[in-house]
Amino acid sequence: MEKLIETQDLYTDFFTFEGVVKALNGVSVIVNEGETYGLVGESGCGKSVTVRSMMRIVQTPGKIVDGKVVIFFRAEDRSRGIDILRRSETYMTSLRGDSISMIFQEASTSLNPVLSIGFQVGESFNFHRRAQMLEETIKDLNKELSNRVFFLTRGWKVLQKAVFRRELAVLQSYESEIDHVDHELYEIENQNDKESLHRKVLLNRRRDRLREKSFLVEFLKRFPFISYYQRRQAKTVRRHVVKLLRSLGVSNPDRVVDCHPHELSGGMQQRIVIAIALACHPVLLIADEPTSNLDVTIQAQIVDLIKQLKQTIISSVLFITHDLGLVAEICDRASVMYAGDISETAEVREIFHNPLHPYTQGLLRSVPKVEQADKLNTIPGTVPALINPPSGCRFHPRCPSKMDVCPQEKPPLIEHSPGHWVACHLYTDGMK
């Protein structure tokens, strides 16, 4: 199976007033092409942080301090992969929402309350499919101009067309260039000697110059009132949005686009969030607890939707949840996280039938079973505060089978049996 994206011991810290929260403690995850990968753990164990780090959208005061996030789906270089932590922000923006995209828990808060649905969904198109949008717009204008129009309107349309043409041209030249420049820069990253440093500087300058594309276009686009002409192009975007929403089974989408988030039900909101994520047919969809705080029926709908999307559009899904049932239902492989560590990774079936890590076992035991008679048994103790986490294996304070090595050193993630990785001293040869 082809690797799609991989994190190599990722460290992410949060610099809060209480102190440095070591949220990620060297997390390594591999998502393969075409699979649904689950990330399981209690709330606050660092699932979300992991994926956000993968997309480099960790908000202040968070910071990725070490590690790699390597992607393999850009044609540029399949064998070696590209470490996106070393790429420019521009590169990332071109990546996010395009080839990797993300849906969140709490759809209600992850939509901007003051912007219309149409706008928020449309943005994805604007960012990643702008060229296409412009082309279509121009085509439409041409069509309209072909049949006879009042001369003032005609003038206006011609003007618009000209501007769009110009913008399109600028955009294309920009995109071709920026990619090229970025790639070169990335190449230089790896070997660092004198003149390459010099070149790096030059390239950076060049990139900056590129960034403020064409002054004229930017001015027209931003300046109040003048920017009004954009409406025409927004129309095109809207069309696409409506199409997208309909395809996601949103009832009467052409009304929904003009709504604001607060006017929609929870499930609807979540659908919108998904729509935003899927606008550009990403390779990888990261679903961060998409079903929490939705009522059960809606949950089912959303899950089905994702499943079905998995078949149609997206190649892989990285599914985050604290709900083991869900994992069992949809995931192929899964990792169990605890306090910023991956404790176990394996095929889902493997995990459920033969859990190795004491924590995993604990989790499974604490799932209420239908035929359960005795009381629900739980893991004693609480999730440690990550400001000063337990030394060595972070689970040892709560671990039933704790050994004296556990507090000393952090257990490495070892492949216990083929495809079944676990990080626990029970299975390291270092058992004395």
Binding site: R52, M55, I57, Q59, T60, E89, T90, M92, T93, S94, L95, R96, G97, D98, S101, M102, F104, E106, T109, S110, L111, N112, P113, V114, L115, S116, Q120, E123, S124, F127, H128, R255, C259, H260, H262, E263, S265, V273, I276, A277
Partner: protein
């Protein structure tokens, strides 16, 4: 100066941010269906607010008047007594003449009746009927407001945004200190310092509204006074020298007000920007691949503006208070200057009128604020 305003402001910005209006007349409704059109409800909201406005104004007039009635007639008559040579019995006669001895209700309703007859009384401080005084003084103030308010808002929002974006970097610290110093400075002191340096030492930016020569022109024949706003009239009369002269005189007071009042907006804007930056939808936008600029300009700023808009009504009150001092210092004979004198000389008609006028503006501004708020924040339904 910031008299009063920061009271309200701090109260507003740190504890009432969830309540968009200071009047509690605005409701945040989560409506699940989007059939309803809110034009009708908007209309009757405005109507209700106008009624409310009238109510408030009535209350204001009653309150202020009764306060003024607490002052003994012998003191209220002083507004008409210009020299020490006037013997006591003549003062008595005046008290009788102006009916200052009558019971308060009688006086109040006499005053009310006069107002409805369009007679606002004679202001001893303006040495003219109140309306004439108003016509004379208001444009001066209005002009200053027109120049300073946009600057205050722009500077405040701009610096606030910069501060938030560059949080904990030198720029941010600089701006924070600027803001905090800005609203710690006594208006009058800053004014005096500016005056001492620019006018006293450099000999530029004199106080007043116009230079002597310009004054001659403006009051002379052949000058048609349309708006009363010097700069505007200057343009209408196509006298750019006058225009420049007016600007030249308005510069210092404007700077004074901007330094003082933008500090408040700066502060609020910064904190609300920071708040907005932490919201989930920012994350969504980022995940969408939005470049930072777009995130700030489209997603964050609009949300961050809400609290700022909320308090701008209060800010206006602060601005008006600032006028009293600024105009007194820079000898701009506007409403503020007039009110200061009226208050000191217990010029009852002038005080009553100005208080009502400002009350009207204040309530009006708040209405507008609510409307803007509703326009920006779709969650808010007026009704």
């Amino acid at each position: 100066m910031q008299a009063g305003a920061p009271f309200l402001l701090d109260g507003a910005c740190c504890f009432q941010h969830n309540n968009p209006s200071h009047h509690g007349c605005i409701y945040v409704i989560k409506s699940s269906s989007f059939q309803e059109s809110n034009h009708l409800s908007l209309l009757n909201y405005i109507i209700r607010r106008l009624l409310f406005m009238i109510l408030v104004l009535f209350g204001v007039s009653l309150l202020v008047f009764s306060v003024l009635m607490l002052i003994p007639p012998g003191m209220r008559v002083a507004a008409y007594v210009t020299s020490e040579k006037i013997p006591p019995d003549q003062i008595e006669a005046m008290i009788k003449l102006y009916g200052l001895n009558d019971p308060a209700p009688v006086q109040y309703f006499r005053w009310l009746a006069k107002i409805f007859r369009g007679d606002l009384g004679f202001s001893a401080t303006a040495e003219a009927p109140v309306l004439d005084g108003f016509k004379r003084y208001f444009p001066v103030t209005l002009e200053l407001v027109l120049y300073s308010t946009p600057l205050i808002i722009l500077v405040g929002i701009w610096l606030g945004t910069v501060g938030a974006i560059k949080k904990d970097r030198p720029a941010d610290h600089a701006i924070r200190i600027l803001a905090i110093v800005g609203y710690s400075l006594p208006t009058f002191w800053l004014g005096l310092l500016l005056l001492m340096f620019f006018y006293g030492f450099l000999g530029i930016f004199p106080p007043g509204t116009l230079s002597v020569e310009a004054n001659e022109v403006v009051f002379g024949s052949g000058w048609n006074r349309i708006t009363g706003l010097l700069t505007i009239d200057a343009i209408i009369n196509w006298r750019w020298d006058i225009f420049l002269d007016a600007l030249y005189h308005i510069a210092l007071p404007t700077i004074n007000l901007v330094i003082l009042d933008s500090a408040l907006i700066m502060r609020l804007m910064r904190s609300s920007m920071l708040e907005a930056l932490g919201q989930d939808y920012v994350r969504t936008a980022l995940a969408k691949g939005a470049p930072n600029r777009v995130v700030y300009q489209t997603h964050v700023r609009r949300n961050a503006l809400l609290p700022v808009i909320t308090i701008s009504g209060v800010l206006f009150a602060g601005l008006m208070a600032g006028m009293v001092i600024t105009e007194t210092i820079f000898v701009r004979k506007g409403i503020g200057w007039w009110m200061a004198r009226a208050a000191l000389q217990l010029d009852v008609p002038a005080i009553m009128f100005n208080v009502l006028f400002l009350g009207l503006i204040f309530v009006g501004v708040n209405l507008i604020v609510d409307l803007i708020y509703a326009a920006i924040d779709p969650r808010v339904r007026l009704g």
